[in-house]
Amino acid sequence: MSALPPKFQDWFDQRGWSIHPHQSDMLERSLSPCQLLIAPTGGGKTLAGFLPTLVELADAPSDGLHTIYISPLKALAADIRRNLRTPVEEIGLPIRIEDRTGDTPYTQRKRQRADPPHILLTTPESLALLLSYPDAPRIFDGLQRVIVDEIHALAESKRGDQLMLSLSRLQALCPGLRRVGLSATVEDPQAIAGYLARQPDPCEILNADPGPDPDIRMLETQTPPPWAGGGGRYAIPDVLDLVRKHKTTLIFHNTRAQAEIFFHHLWLANEEGLPIGIHHGSLAKEQRLKVEAAMAAGQLRGIVCTGSLDLGIDWGDVDLVIQVGAPKNVKRLVQRIGRANHRYNAPSKAILVPANRFEVIECQAALQAVQARALDGDPRSPGPRDVLCQHILGTAAAGPFDADTLYSQVTSSGAYAALSRPDFDACLDFAATGGYALRAYDRYQRLVQRDGQWQLRDPRAAAQIRMNLGTIVDTDKLKVRLKHSRGGQPLGEVEEAFAASLTPGDTFLIGGQIVRYEGLREMTVEVTRRADREPRVAVFSGTKFATSTQLSARILEMLNQPDWPTLPGHTADWLLLQREISQMPRGDRLLVETFPLQDRHYTCVYGFAGKNAQQTLGLLLTARMEREGLHPLGFVATDYATLIWGLDPVTDPTMLLRGHDLRDGFETWLNGNAVMKRTFRTSALIAGLIDRNSPGKRKSGRQATFSSDILYDTLLKYDPDHLMMQVTREEALKGLVDFGRIEELLARVEDRIDHRALNQVSPLAAPLLLEVGRVPVQGAGTERLMKEEAEALMAEAGLR
């Protein structure tokens, strides 16, 4: 397979196109077992992936499946089907292309199993489901190629781990299967290649021309950015001006709440009514589809969005990307910038808007990193065991299996190559018996071994296993609807915990509107519209990213420059003042400032460990202070520091920060932590300990099934080393708790702690006093709070 067949060449010629070098490279080497293409957005990546399939099928038409294409987004699968139809029809190829996702109607899915198309476009979840049917060998018979799109994104989540396990099984069914990965620019292509390829097969890496350097700069506004906070509201006039001057602008925010607030104020200022929409993961699906359709039709001049637009759909005419708030992560920034200007060889245009004074420094550091093409990223950790448990159950649903064979399949995936046999056996034991120290279920094992083959004890369990396949676990969300709008469109969704914190009369933002909370009715949040200008409660949680280790290091380096010619004057002056009054934080030392202010004693720890780790550090330090009788009252954490306040001064911060004491306190603290319970629920759902539809989820009407928190508490007490508890600890450590970065910090500074006892607040600490998201210290306070609230309620009702 090498040259482009004449009818393909004709088609390219008719369109006035020439084939890109990386597209012909892919075609030439299409017989290698594994290929990874790294190409910027708009580089004809998808066609490069499919061209070998189209050519092979044109040469030798066959029945049955030839190629499976996997994308992380359902919408992408449908999009690709439309895009592929053009060359297939115009060249006149006898190729059937269909997509199969959770949205595909049942009858079509059933037909696809009986009579598969040549090219099937699907998602990791739908593939896992197909593989769990006993007729999987027949469905996949003759399969030649599998194309994994956006593999850089999949590789960052459990969806990727599940997909790679599915590929290992697919490879066993179709030994000649060739793997193709399509990726955006990443920091370590080798790592992705090793993730994709069957071990120990080699994987060829092809790099498309990355195109010219992006045209990227920081927005300099009339008013300097505020001292603290996020959102970038101060820049709205300048942003509107930019939207006016461009065809289509994407305005990225780091959180949904910030996107909502910005969008609301953008419209208040949008006097000429420029068509601007909003898109994020909390909006109702109908709303999102409407915005996507308007975008595709070129009706929108701007879209305020979040990570929900990071992937996929080609919006065509975007000519400017604005990033509001520091990008936190250089790789994501580069990928976002790539969304602008999809014409190959034209530079992408992007503008960074720092949301506060510190972010000016952060944006500047990110600009340097982009220019130096220095991408950041954390090394991948080994494949998680909860996903493996699900894979074992899915395999059992398809039919009996041999443990040795399955183990060798699993370890042929890069992510699980280092999985030990005892670890595998523990997962198998979990799937079979529950894996408890107390062997209680001998008669009712889920999997039993008959004639050396593992299989379901009760074949009816297969349906339940299929229902639970997939690694996407949504937090419980409630739909938000206008009151009395019987069956009207929902405005969006909010997390249950947010809804629970509302009392009637509270106002908040959703879908760019201010609404008033009226009450909860049958699992729906009922609201009414309000004409207020300011919502009372603005924040509902969404993903919060911590500044990457590499970017933090770059910021520290920048702070320690002798002067700052690239920074705006106001920011440089601020840093100079810090140097005079206190000192600059350094990478190899830990700066701790203490100062009194208005009857409170403050301690500021400049760890530069990212928001999640600084938050954890705040919880640990305040717990130690409570034990030392220093009466801490609360703290606030940002990506670079934790500021703690209390009734007594901290005179010896070195003592508080001693490594092994912190670690000890951490163990105890961690076990009772709400983050652990949330993490446990996710892993328990993925591993099949609990059903997606029962424990943890409420049924309407009857008494609820019990919460997964109870299972966590029970295991903690009676079986603390159970597999699910091990997995939970692992996940929490790298996720929200991010203790790894605290460890990294402690290793970096060792005992080099600089304590500066100041008489006044320092310039770097001052903005922290204005930060929102303060965490009160929960000591005896929680009980007191409940008591006070109960008494207030009784008094209000005129009782006692």
């Binding site: 209680a440 369990a461 629970a500 299972l711 029970t714 295991l715 079986d719 309620l793 009702a797």
Partner: protein, 216 residues
């Protein structure tokens, strides 16, 4: 005694933080909806393999309450077993534990919808029981007076935490579920708000008991 003291139909009662009801004059402890053997039933019905420790966890708490109060009478107010088979299949050590708790006490099993029939364990089996001014039965009945029941697993939210609650008005008292693997029904649900009178209170369990107007 950290419970909440209240008067119901002329009886002086305590709502314990654990969710048990204590009647000092009768030295009577009442617990509802223990759901012993839930994990076992899940496994039997191929609904999943839950941590098999719920019976001992429930027994641990029950033993603590019985000993703290030095109870002479114990009423299990129905749904003590997740199903009748679960009662038969209780492991020997847990059966022994339960038998030890029952020894020397007047122990009454009230039938519930999950356990509608006699079990082989000792104690008295009743569909309902009258003690002084109070009637103990599993499911609340229309127009009942002085009725103590369970069944609904009532819960309510206070200071942002959802907790099991006692519900009480002039004529009825509904106990929270005592079993470890039990969920709850919010007091705002029509089934509960239509059952309880307008003046009803909720006693929120937890570290201590907090009385509040019943959330509707």
């Amino acid at each position: 005694m950290t419970g909440h003291r209240f008067t119901f139909s002329g009886a002086q009662l305590f709502a314990c933080p654990s969710g048990a009801l204590w009647w000092p004059d009768q030295q009577l402890l009442c617990v509802s909806d223990l759901h012993f053997g839930k994990a076992d039933r899940y496994a039997r019905k191929s609904r999943g393999l839950l941590p098999p420790y719920e019976v001992r966890e429930t027994l641990t708490r029950l033993e603590e309450d019985i000993q703290t109060m030095n109870a002479r009478q114990v009423i299990c107010l129905g749904d003590s077993w997740d199903d009748l088979e679960a009662a038969e299949r209780l492991p020997d050590d847990e059966k022994l534990w339960l038998t030890r708790l029952m020894a020397g006490r007047n122990w009454i099993w009230i039938e519930g919808n999950h356990d509608p029939g006699p079990i082989e364990l000792a104690g008295t089996h009743r569909s309902e029981l009258q003690v002084g001014p109070l009637t103990f039965r599993h499911i609340a009945e229309d127009a009942a007076v002085g009725e103590v029941s369970g069944h609904y697993h009532p819960k309510a939210r206070l200071a942002n935490r959802s907790q099991p609650v006692f519900l009480v008005d002039d004529t009825r008292l509904i106990l929270p579920a005592y079993g470890t693997y039990t969920g709850g029904l919010r007091s705002t649900h029509p089934a509960l708000s239509s059952l309880m009178g307008p003046e009803a209170l909720a006693f929120v369990t937890g570290k201590t008991v907090h009385p509040i107007p019943m959330p509707r």
